[in-house]
């Protein structure tokens, strides 16, 4: 099936939040902190503005607790006399003219009495920088399996390495935006978001409104990648406060500069590995430390850290594993959800480290992975027994074969021996991604969903899960149609309006197809039973029964319902971090081929092969598109996307200076799937959305290592960074495959 809303998007008819008709509204804007930490000593309103024309909101206008409700209740809606990061919201302004409000924002001076800021998460804070607990650690987590110290002490070989990853900006092409207005007594907030019920919860909490007086509607969302998971709650609150104070509709749309400067990014991370092995390359102990920069509030950092450590040991069998994790408070703009959610950082380190190990002990990186990849019956770091029938070796073999890995190695050797300035190499990464919320998260979400029968015999899926480009509308349509034997035209997907749809959970964590899709199947079955049919009834029989039901019950609603139920046999202990971290893992092997120009230290990816096992592939075009998009985002993160920091805020907050790949920078991404249906996923599917961002960075850096002989350990590997690495090595005279000839 073609993407449902494709034609609306291709013709420009799809209306995003800034495209919606709106009468008599005000443009809202945010006045922000200029300093990373300190007391607000004054707010000066410039004399060049007639302030009587403006709506001005500060923290005293918040009816309820001044808190954006999430995991912790530590982040204010608007700073109340104290700021913890640059760009922290302090005041809100609104005016009918967008230009007027832009000028007015510049006329406000927020004066901050500076206090010592913690700006480097990698170093222990000085006493005067401590602002969270006794050590600025937001969250400690630990996984222990076996006895690492003893195993390391007895290991014939120990290889250590330290790896770093930088922040990454989402660059969804539609910037963040919200509209808030009162419809009678009901506050209606619409906008670009992944999680309508998160926004609802935040609005209810800070505005002390019960669910009957506030409604959240998702508008078509121009990309999210996690950036519209928790952040939209802030803009929604800001727009709502302005609308409540002014009594007028308020539109608050960030421009690109504000969006890049003030919203969340991927957590920077530092990962240390100490790995014990036998001489022939079998893992005997993995000691891993993961540190992430949380920024100035807790936001989602504890759960990002959780996913990071659970994935840190890689898809390998090892009896003795210790993984410790720390999320650090700093006075940086808070970091947040981004596709992969911690796993890309820890698996970059792990997969790069595998190649460092291979080089250290003199074994082929492919062989090292072949020896250690999980076999059915073996356990992950948390002790989860993997027994899904997936052939992880076959996934790797397919990637090697599609990329002509062995032939390429020979070709590269010949090429590198003769070319004066270019070096080529191929690199491999084998990795995994757990789908759905971690541990008991899915149980806690208590997701619910409805499939309604319409009087015309068609059905409507009512869910809070949203389309942001990843294909929800299409896949939900296919799942409902397939389950009931209906044509796709007989299925509609309700707008994600909290006034109408039940809370089927957030659109995050690769859970939408696998988990929420499963609810569609079960709600469809329930609907069928409501109209007196058994699960074998399909097509015309279903349609006619729904029509008949409506004739017999005029005006009454008809729907089937489903609530999340844990698949059998899943056990997780959140205290000890032992057990089944995820219902299912997707498995993958990616091969990158690169060409490094030694004149300019520039790395170009010239071929990319992405092979994965994600259960049953429901829609090949959409699935392929997810992988290709994730890979290109990963190429950007690996090679060019670099946040430059000034006082914990992004200094290069323009698309001219924060570069993402263009079509000219990337090769075609060759995608293949091995299929192994997952019995508890909708249509046999496992989660797919995040997996593709985990593999490109390590595959690419492993390829650069092969091509140049350098051992890069940090991303982004910009030309400037590669220069230091190559020339630094040349200086100390280490054997180095890449002197200029």
């Amino acid at each position: 099936m073609k993407r449902r809303e494709a034609l609306a998007k291709l013709t420009g008819r799809e209306r995003y939040v800034d495209d919606l008709p709106l009468e008599g509204f005000l443009w809202g804007m945010t006045v922000r902190s200029p300093a990373p930490r300190g007391r607000v000593t004054a707010i000066r309103f410039g004399k060049d503005v007639d302030w009587s024309q403006f709506v001005v909101v500060d923290h005293r206008d918040i009816p309820g607790p001044n808190v954006v409700a999430l995991i912790e209740e530590d982040q204010p809606v608007l700073a109340a006399g104290y700021v913890r990061h640059v760009h922290e919201p302090v005041l809100l302004l609104a005016h009918p003219s967008r230009e007027a409000v832009r000028r007015a924002v510049r006329s406000v001076e927020v004066v901050v009495g500076p206090e010592p800021a913690a700006l480097d998460f990698r170093v222990p804070p000085a006493p005067e920088q401590i602002q969270y607990g006794s050590d600025n650690v937001i969250k400690h987590l630990k996984i222990e399996k076996g006895d690492v110290e003893r195993a390391l002490a007895g290991a014939p070989v120990v290889v250590a390495g330290t790896y770093e990853t930088g922040a990454q900006e989402h660059v969804y092409l539609e910037t963040q935006g919200m509209i808030a207005q009162l419809e009678g007594d009901v506050l209606v907030v619409k906008g670009s978001m992944q999680c309508p019920y998160y926004v609802l919860k935040a609005l209810q909490h800070a505005l002390t409104r019960d669910a009957t007086r506030v409604r959240v509607i998702q508008t078509p969302t121009g990309g999210g990648f996690g950036g519209k998971e928790e952040f939209p709650s802030h803009i929604a609150l800001h727009a709502a406060l302005l609308a409540l104070k002014s009594g007028r509709p308020v539109k608050l749309i960030y421009d690109r500069g504000e969006d890049m400067a003030a919203t969340t990014k991927r957590h920077p991370a530092l990962v240390r590995h100490r790995t014990g092995l036998t001489r022939d390359g079998r893992l005997v102990a993995q000691d891993i430390e993961v540190v992430i920069d949380g920024g100035a509030y807790v936001t989602l950092s504890p759960v990002v850290l959780s996913r990071a450590i659970i994935h840190a040991a890689g898809p390998y069998a090892c009896e003795h594993v210790r993984i410790t994790g720390r999320a650090m408070f700093t006075n940086a703009v808070p970091f947040g959800a981004f596709r992969g959610f911690g796993a890309p950082q820890s698996q970059f380190a792990g997969e790069r480290h595998m190649d460092v190990i291979a080089a250290t002990i003199g074994i082929d990186p492919v062989e090292l992975r072949r020896i250690n990849l999980l076999r059915d019956g073996q356990t992950t770091a948390t002790g989860q027994v993997i027994r899904d029938g997936a052939d992880r070796l076959a996934v790797m073999e397919r990637a090697l074969e599609l990329s002509s890995y062995r032939d390429k190695q020979r070709e590269h050797a010949a090429f590198n021996a003769t070319h004066p300035t270019l070096r080529r190499g191929s690199g491999l990464a084998t990795f995994y991604h757990g789908a759905g919320f971690t541990g008991g998260g899915e149980v806690a979400l208590q997701s619910r969903l409805r499939v309604a029968g319409r009087p015309d015999g068609g059905v409507e899926v009512l869910s809070a899960n949203i389309e942001m480009g990843q294909g929800t509308l299409t896949v939900f349509t296919e799942l409902a149609a397939t389950r009931l034997g209906l044509a796709p035209e007989d299925v509609t997907i309700a707008e994600a309006d909290t006034g109408r749809v039940p809370n089927s959970g957030p659109t995050v964590a690769s859970r939408t197809t696998m988990i929420v899709g499963g609810l569609i199947e079960r709600a469809a079955d329930d609907l069928r039973r409501h109209v007196g049919l058994d699960d074998s009834a399909r097509g015309a029989a279903v349609k006619q029964s729904i029509q008949r039901w409506h004739r017999e019950h005029p005006g009454e609603p008809l729907f089937g319902e489903a609530a999340y139920e844990k698949p059998p046999g899943i056990v997780w202990d959140d205290q000890t971090y032992r057990g089944d971290a995820y219902g299912a893992f997707a498995w993958a092997a990616y091969v990158a081929e690169v060409e490094v120009d030694l004149r300019t230290y520039t790395t170009r990816v010239i071929d990319f092969v992405a092979v994965q096992e994600v259960g049953k592939v429901l829609n090949p075009t959409l699935a392929k598109g997810q992988v290709q998009g994730g890979v290109v985002q990963g190429i950007g993160w690996a090679l060019m996307e670099e946040c430059k920091w000034r006082d914990g805020a992004m200094a290069n907050n323009q698309l001219t200076n924060y570069l993402i790949p263009t079509s000219h920078d990337v090769p075609p991404v060759r995608v293949a799937f091995l299929e192994n249906p997952y019995p508890h996923g909708a249509g046999g599917a496992k989660g797919l959305g995040e997996l593709p961002i985990d593999g490109p960075a390590p595959a690419i850096l492993n390829a650069v290592a092969r091509a140049t002989g350098a051992e890069p350990r940090a991303i982004p590997l910009t030309p400037e960074n590669l220069m230091e690495l190559l020339d630094g090595q040349a200086k100390v005279g280490a054997q180095h495959a890449a002197p200029l000839r």
Binding site: A8, T11, G12, L173, G223, Q654, L655, T662, H664, P668
Partner: protein, 165 residues
């Protein structure tokens, strides 16, 4: 004194051809073509992605060439020809639908405008390749393959149409 209403030149009345029809509109001298299209003429198909001429989401044709409408002062289009995504024939976009050219859709109108221009000028491919020609349209979802494949298919469909027609 509130400056936006202070020293300000009166609006300029301009006439231009928009999607094949003449249109006359009073524009603020500071208006960008993008703003005039979206907020004055309610043609919201054209999107703003960056406001700095990097992303191409606001691509329209000015006298038949793709341009970033965020970098065009509206007064400069007086007497000229402007086409927006709303001018395209939806029926001919089938290859873009089929090959995965769109995901979130925010870059899509701009992508489609550039892609369609290539489709209409296949001779460009004698000197350029599609990836170079599409480089002014940033997409964060597709990884570009869906777009590149669509252009190829659209060119083939066009060629076929010509031969058969």
């Amino acid at each position: 004194m509130l400056r936006p209403y202070g020293k300000r030149m009166p609006a300029i009345a301009i006439t231009f051809t928009l999607n094949g029809s003449p249109v006359t509109v009073d524009v603020d001298p500071a208006a960008r073509l993008l703003d005039t299209l979206r907020y004055q003429l309610t043609l919201t198909g054209t999107k703003e992605g960056c406001g700095e001429g990097e992303c191409g989401a606001c691509t329209v044709y000015l006298d038949g060439l793709p341009v970033n409408s965020c970098l065009v002062p509206t007064y400069q289009v007086r007497g000229h020809r402007v086409e927006t995504v709303e001018s395209l024939d939806p029926g001919a976009l089938e290859p873009f639908e089929r090959c995965g050219a769109t995901q979130c859709g925010a870059c899509t109108p701009g992508v489609v405008m550039t892609a369609w221009w290539i489709r209409e000028h296949p001779e460009l491919l004698e000197t350029h390749d599609t990836r170079e020609l599409m480089a002014g349209n940033l997409c964060r979802c597709t990884g570009y393959d869906g777009i590149i494949d669509s252009v190829k298919e659209a060119l083939e469909a066009r060629g076929k149409g010509k031969r058969e027609g």
